[in-house]
């Protein structure tokens, strides 16, 4: 029986719109797994080894649902991973083994890994993988798909940033969310031309600017650091950014698909410099995942005048747990409050919101005390004069 191949990939945040386009442009069928629900979470958790990373369990559940619901289709699961330096590097063999063990067979896993040593083996292996992934295409078709997908990622991120900026400033609650959702859908389904994407982006940004809001307010600022997937996937981090924004906080997330890719793959100079300087004495060594970034970004946020930092980590995440211990020193040395939130399948909405609120309240009162102190100082200097 010949079954047509359908591509699928790990869903992460809003970036799925771009990855979806990538395969469509190359002329393939593609399906995006649905966001997690309690059933997929349960299935992912119960079939994964207990101590495995939470993101692995999430994705396993999502894939299992997709595969089971479409038994007539044959899937290629594209897993983007590297050879370590974390468990991430072993996701795809485990998907393979576990899904098979669950009796699901209509799939194969294609993992696109970075090139890892030894080079003379790594480079041909990488090329082989790419061919296996997208087939023999005229190189320009591949490049085109890549460029357009890149633009979509960029456009969605611009919209998202604007969205989080507007929420605490909007006059009618919910108005920016409506605008964002519409804008996102337009980019998602934009024609596959760079020009059209640019045009839609500009139009939508303008429209969002026109939402009735107050620009001139001072809000507490919170930076978000942590493990990349947990941080970037709104559906599994309980929409932490949106929640904070609705609590009246200016938030900034440290990792985005764009900067993550640029910093990691191309090793941008500034990134390397920061890593070295800032982490010195705290975590001098690359330990994989995003652990060093978390420490670096916490310090950089403080230097930029942020009021607090939240570390988002999957429960048991190896590098982030190490970073968590060290962050308590950073917090002390730099006088910056850090809240570490570990996520697993039991993280419920209620307790979560309470913790966020308590943290935000604390930041607000710290701000008040500080502004009073500085006022008092000013007054003092006036009287002494």
């Amino acid at each position: 029986m010949h079954r047509k191949i359908t591509y699928t990939f790990p869903r992460m945040g809003y970036s799925y719109a771009a990855f979806e386009s990538f395969f469509k442009i190359l002329g393939y069928d593609v399906m995006v797994p649905d966001p997690s629900n309690s059933k997929t979470l349960k299935e992912g958790v119960s079939n994964s080894p207990q101590g495995m990373c939470f993101p692995f369990k999430i994705l396993l559940g999502q894939f299992a649902k997709l595969l089971k619901e479409n038994p007539d289709k044959y899937f290629k699961i594209v897993s983007l991973e590297s050879y370590g330096p974390c468990r991430f590097g072993y996701y795809s063999p485990l998907y393979n083994k576990i899904l098979e063990d669950m009796g699901v067979t209509n799939f194969e896993v294609v993992n696109v890994e970075g090139i890892y040593p030894p080079w003379y083996k790594g480079v041909p292996r990488f090329i082989k993988k790419l061919v296996k992934l997208v087939g023999w295409h005229a190189p320009w078709a591949g490049v085109r798909a890549f460029v357009i997908a890149g633009w979509k990622v960029y456009a969605v991120e611009r919209l998202e940033r604007k969205f989080y900026h507007l929420i605490p400033r909007e006059k009618v609650s919910g108005s920016s969310e409506k605008a964002f959702n519409r804008a996102f859908e337009r980019i998602h389904h934009a024609p596959n031309k760079v020009k059209s994407i640019k045009k839609i982006l500009n139009e939508e940004l303008k429209k969002m600017d026109q939402i009735d809001h107050i620009d001139d307010v001072e809000l507490p600022k919170v930076g978000l650091v942590g493990e990349a997937y947990m941080l970037m996937d709104y559906s599994n981090n309980l929409e932490i950014e949106k929640k904070l924004a609705y609590m009246g906080v200016d938030i900034d997330r440290s990792l985005w698909v764009t900067n993550w890719t640029l910093d990691r793959l191309l090793k941008t100079k500034q990134h390397l410099k920061h890593m070295k300087e800032v982490n010195k004495g705290y975590l001098d060594f690359f330990i994989g995942g995003d652990g060093q970034e978390s420490i670096m970004n916490t310090i950089l946020y403080k230097k930029k005048g942020f009021d607090g930092v939240i570390q988002v980590l999957p429960f048991g995440c190896l590098p982030e747990t190490a970073a968590k211990q060290i962050l308590s020193n950073v917090s002390e040395d730099y006088d910056v409050p850090v809240l570490s939130l570990s996520f697993d399948e039991q993280t419920g909405d209620a307790g979560f919101v309470t913790r966020l609120e308590a943290f935000v309240d604390m930041l607000k009162s710290r701000r008040e005390i500080k502004s009073k102190e500085s006022k008092a100082k000013k007054a003092e200097s006036v009287t002494t004069r």
Binding site: Q50, P85, A322, I326
Partner: protein, 332 residues
Amino acid sequence: MKIGIPRGLYFYVYYPLWYGFFTSLGHDVILSMPTNKEILNTGVSSAVDDICISVKVYHGHVKHLLGKKDVDHVFVPRIVSEDKYKYTCPKLAAMPDLIKSAFRKNEKKLLSVVMYMNQGKKALHEAFSEVGKKIGENDDRKIKKALKAGIELQDKATMCLRKEHNFLEVVSSIQNLDSLLEKPVKKERYTVALAGFPYDVYDGYMNGDVIKRLQDTNMRVVVTDMLEPKLYKHYTKYMIKDLFWHQANVAAKGGMYYMDSKDIDGVITISSFNCGISAVYEKLLDLYSKETGKPLMHIVVDEQTGDAGLVTRIEAFLDLIRVKRGDGLVAS
């Protein structure tokens, strides 16, 4: 000088090397005492909540040595890699930083250095020269000699392991490994293999004394660190790709090798609570045990492993082994 070596983590792998090096330079090596309640409790309260129990215990050992007035330095190396393109767990690679963050007041007493164990003698020489400098030894000839002594001792220890003497025996016979080499190993009717990281397998206080418990019921106990790596190389194919961590590969492939060995009756994995890496090799072994039908049991070490529940589980496992051999249950 007195050099403290915490009895945890890579102590259970590289102790002979470290011991040989420091003693050859004329220093005394002071070990922290075997894990006990106090060490465990200090460790638990010094390290961050959700970190694995092995790392917590290690914190306890370091603290114990830091508290000793006569110990001049506590040796906390950063072991980065152990085999070609195989590294250690992120937490291990961050170890000196973690220890520093937990015991900031004693930072100066910590003696740490980055070590690549797979890059030949030159890299080791560099690392140990650095250690030497930090303890005031600048004579390169002496360093070289000490390193040679360390490597010799480590090689001898490996030979002992290959002869199926376990690492605890190596530790207690460190001054006389030659005689350990000569010592015959007792054969028993049953053999149980332990798969896991050496620090989980050999810390008897933490794992409910598995080794002793098994030996007391006349079981021969072998451990994955006794195997020559060549023996299990081919299991990469089953695993689709090698794991990123050397010790996890040893546990996974060694475990599979034992499952395929006729003279091994069952395999027990021992891992640390909250260790994410063990989760991966345990799953692989689960699947492999399904294929081979070899009995497999998991022990997860946590703050109270040695309870009655574990004893019952081990007994049930041993009964299973006996039944598989066609021997009836032994009334005990």
